[in-house]
Amino acid sequence: MAVPVEEAIAALSTFSLEDEQAEVQGPGIWVSSERGATDSPIEYSDVSAYRLSLSEDTKALNQLDALIQEGKEMSAVLYTYRSCVKALPQLPDSMKQSQADLYLETYQVLDLEMSRLREIQRWQASAASKLAADMQRFSRPERRINGPTITHLWSMLKLLDVLVQLDHLKNAKATIPNDFSWYKRTFTQVSVQWHDTDAMREELDDLQIFLSTRWAILLNLHAEMFRVNNVEDILQVLIVFAVESLELDFALLFPERHILLRVLPVLVVLATSSEKDSESLYKRVKINRLINVFKNDPVIPAFPDLHLSPAAIMKELSIYFQKFSSQTRLLTLPAPHELPPREAQDYQRHYLIIHHIGSIRAEHDDFIIRFASSMNQLLLLKSIESADIEWCKEVKGSMYDMVVEGFQLLSKWTARVWEQCAWKFSRPCKDVIPTEPHDSSASFSDYEKVVRYNYSPDERKALVELVGYIKSVGSMMQRCDTLVADALWETIHAEVQDFVQNTLATMLKTTFRKKKDLSRILSDMRTLSADWMANTSRPESDLQALQHGGEESKGILFFPRPVAPTAAQVHCLQFLIYEVVSGGNLRKPGGLFGNSGSEVPVNDLKQLETFFYKLGFFLHILDYSATVASLSDLGFLWFREFYLESSRVIQFPIECSLPWMLVDYVLESQNAGLLESVLMPFDIYNDSAQQALVVLKQRFLYDEIEAEVDHCFDIFVSKLCETIFTYYKSWAASELLDPSFLFALDNGEKYSIQPMRFTALLKMTRVKLLGRTINLRSLIAERMNKIFRENVEFLFDRFESQDLCAVVELEKLLDVLKHAHELLSKDLSVDSFSLMLNEMQENISLVSFSSRLGSQIWSEMQNDFLPNFILCNTTQRFIRSSKVPLVPVQKPSVPYAKPNFYCGTPDLNLAHQSFARLHSGFFGIPHMFSIVKLLGSRSLPWLIRALLDHISNKITTLEPMITGLQEALPKSIGLLPFDGGVTGCMRLVKEHLNWGAKSELKTEVLRGIKEIGSVLYWMGLLDIVLREVETSHFMQTAPWLGLLPGAEGQVLHSQGGGDSPIVSLFKSASAAIVSNPVCQNATSFSILSKQAEAADLLYKANLNTGSVLEYALAFTSAALDKYCSKWSAMPKTGFVDITTSKDFYRIYSGLQIGYLEESVQLSSNSHEVLGDSVAWGGCTIIYLLGQQLHFELFDFSHQVLNVAEVETASTAQAHRNPHLVQGWDTLIESMKKARRLNNHVFSMLKARCPLEDKTACAIKQSGAPLHRIRFENTVSAFETLPQKGA
């Protein structure tokens, strides 16, 4: 019958449930968390079936358990009680008449709260009397009833603990009496109209006494207990039991240990209320043992933010319990705040996790490896059909051992966290070192002193680590719950059966043979738990094998059955063992398993003891998932009800919240090792939310936690993204630094970055948070998309606030960003970089080609670069003129951004900035490269067109000015005569060329010509860069397109008319794949080969691109054709017109000599305004007008130079005064320079734009130049040019 179930479940495991997500969170979903074994869900009603006459005991036990349950709820109410008085409204003076109404309302509100307190008062009274009655009943020496059982003893201890806690809490909560007095006042006001309020008044007085008396609950309990004077025995038993359990510390998990520690001082106080009693107590338990226990744990956690101290409790109680005050040895124990410094140091070492984290780490690492290997063994065992029985038992046994060890470790670790908390609460930080300077004047709340400033960074680190260990071990154990369950049951079953069938049998045969009473108990133990028939269902062969083995091990062998004993069985067994060792006598001297006076020999006693404590632990193992849940529950780290009340605030800021402090620490510390535990502290919130709802049952607490978590998680995500972005940015920036630069550097390490692994976090698609599932990955991706866009936007903003020279820096920064994007894309899917760049460049549209960057470059050129930069022909650079800019430039201020918007860390920023600074002072080839790369083939043509239009506009604006200058030219200027020498020439030139009234046009024209020259030179630079780019491009594509170099350097196609290599490669590959019958989608491969053809076409079309410079020259030429008649008049005579010509060359020549002279006089000042581009502009126009030869013949400075040459020659011959021409030295020098420059320009133009037969480029309708087309000189090509706006 069981087989189909098993098969069906096994079939489920064939589903692949692989998951990419790493386990970086604590356990999340509890399949079952009710306690089946430790708290019997059927209230031990099955105990009666074993006929041990325990019905009285069971009844009492259940009564106590019910009280414990109620008591816990009471203390939850009390713990979460918040003062109402603060929220009560005050009436303004104008509404005094309704004061009575307000009183009534207030009364009704407060009455509800007070009724809860009244309930607590009533409950504690009944609980105390019931507990006292219970103790009295079960400690009668004549023993008419069986009991108390061990479970019963535990219940007594637990109830006592609840009462102690409740009392402690009542003492600590200061607002309750406050609220009460307010309530009483309103009551007096309200009750005036009421009749017979005496009873109520009396009740109120009662409550007041209860609330205002410290330790009222304990006092009441004491009174109840000693009404009849015979509970000392049971108190002593409880003390002995507690002390022994604590000393053994084997079977206790930390919640029980804390219960015992909390109860013990109270028990001692109660038990020593008389001389005689204390003597008999110390006979059973030496006082030193007690003192040791108290000394070991000077502070004990009671509530999340409230601790207990045994020494302090005893001291305080001694005032109320007169008899106890004689116990001086116990009373001299120092309370935590009275500890001498040296002892405090010792305790500090004991309590602080930081001193243990090393060993904890080692334990953790060791444990998880062994646990995992046991798990693997178990899985292996399950996959094998018939395994060897011994091996089977061994594997399961080792699994059991691992689980026990795991529980003990978890219990130890979580207890450490609790205890460290309690210790921290008991020792607030004395000298607060504020982190932010501005709040140094503010006073700190108590909570800040005990939490926020009480954990040093190292302590936070240790705590995060420990929380991580607890949560990860917890989740590891929880995950294998159903896998190990049957192995655990089987092992426990085997242990129990081994004991009752083998050990007890031996005992019965030997030591207990003579003792009828005891042997009856032992055989009862066998009766109620032995599973004799466990092997009946096994096949015969197994049985034989078993019997064979049985002979060797000399014991009854039984097959393990995967069934655990019930809670009732364990309960009865524990009871019977206790009966055996104590002889049913509460007054038995000595300890529980102490040997004195016992009838049981030592060996057997030892065995019984071991089995007894094992039984206790079985229950925890049977409640596997509930135990894991309670042991890895760290929710207490959030709660702060006590401090909230004492600080009189509604809630503390999240900086004071321990979970957030831990998260924040992990993020701030940039510790790669901790990074993956960054989600662990959020499990604290999960736990505390669970506690708020299930244990404390307070909606408002949950709401507060939820609000905090929402807030924290938002901050967490944004901080995490910031960290990730900075990290990837720095990584990219450090990779892009020049390696040789790094190598040469002494402190190169500061530019390398510590590797961090974000992969696990980036894979988190479901973060469990307060029952919600959050896709962290998508949140991060979303933010990353945004942050990358913001960064691009910032870089553009920054560029826009600088001049054109910053384009190199822009390109570098964009490169860093792009590389960072590339690195991040490996782990996270973010939008493609080009997409983001296009979006931020406003370059999405299909029909617009000007991008944000393109238009910025263009406006920058128009407004700043062309007017204010001057060319240096030698260095091929433009530099900013040192003169005051002619056109003032207004720019937005440089926007501010965090270092991660540049290159990541400040160090890397510095390194990259110093590189960028090299290029910030000029504009040259590197800048042109950046522009070409940034604009790409999409916007570059647009920019070129804009610049060419600029040229033609400039020519149009120059035209009337030149006409003006032409008019100002004298009617005729002859050749300069040689007889006046240089001086004479210059005088003549000055006479002729004063331009009359039009002289102000001079500078305007020169500036215009300079701008034209600058544009043309700029085009020249662009041409050089484009050539280079295209060449490398060609080198890359040529082999694929099948292009070969010919003998004379021309390009040959390798295959005559056939397919190029790329096409044939793809064709043959797809043909081969398609012909294969396995092929699923043949169409996609044929599409692939079609695309190869398209690529082939596209790349081939791109091969023969023209020269930008040539195009620009052709364009300029065409633009000039319109003014050809004005600027280059055909001489009427047909001969060269020498004296009366007003052609452009003449104007330019006059301007040139003018500015040369000026530049000499004003110490080369106008040259700095104009630079070398004037020559480029002027000469190009002259050349394109076909006036080069005229210019070279009749240029004034040429003539002057000729004159000077002759003069120098003649003076040198005559050896006469050589200083004659010296006054003109510098002028002649600059004229020579100008001539050299002009010649250079002309020769370049001749090379790029040969004009002999007026062979120019025609320009097609599309704008592409048509090479080597002859056309008549007179035909204007300008008409055929595509016009803007036409």
């Binding site: 979903i29 079936a49 023993r143 599973d531 019930t566 049913g584 899917s829 999405i844």
Partner: protein, 85 residues
């Protein structure tokens, strides 16, 4: 002094205990497998969630790309004269 113990009808109790062991074997078998089933469902949900998450991620990317293409087409079709020649 009254000793505890003394199961009144030891044989009957023994038989009942034996039967109880066997019954409980069946019960724990069933309950364990129910828990396994539940665990499987939890696991299955988790895996499905992460698979859906990765699907969602892809859809998101596609959606954004589609949006971009729509915008591009929009800019082009807003100016139909460009395509008439």
């Amino acid at each position: 002094m009254a000793r505890a113990g003394g199961i009144t009808n030891a044989v009957n109790v023994g038989i009942a205990v034996q039967a109880d062991w066997e019954n409980r074997e069946f019960i724990s078998h069933i309950s364990l497998n129910v828990r396994r089933l539940f665990e499987f469902l939890v696991q299955f949900e988790a895996t499905t969630k992460s698979k859906l998450a990765s699907l969602n991620e892809k859809l998101d990317t596609l959606e954004r790309r589609l949006e971009l293409l729509e915008v591009q087409v929009g800019t082009a079709s807003a100016n139909p004269s460009l395509f008439t020649s």
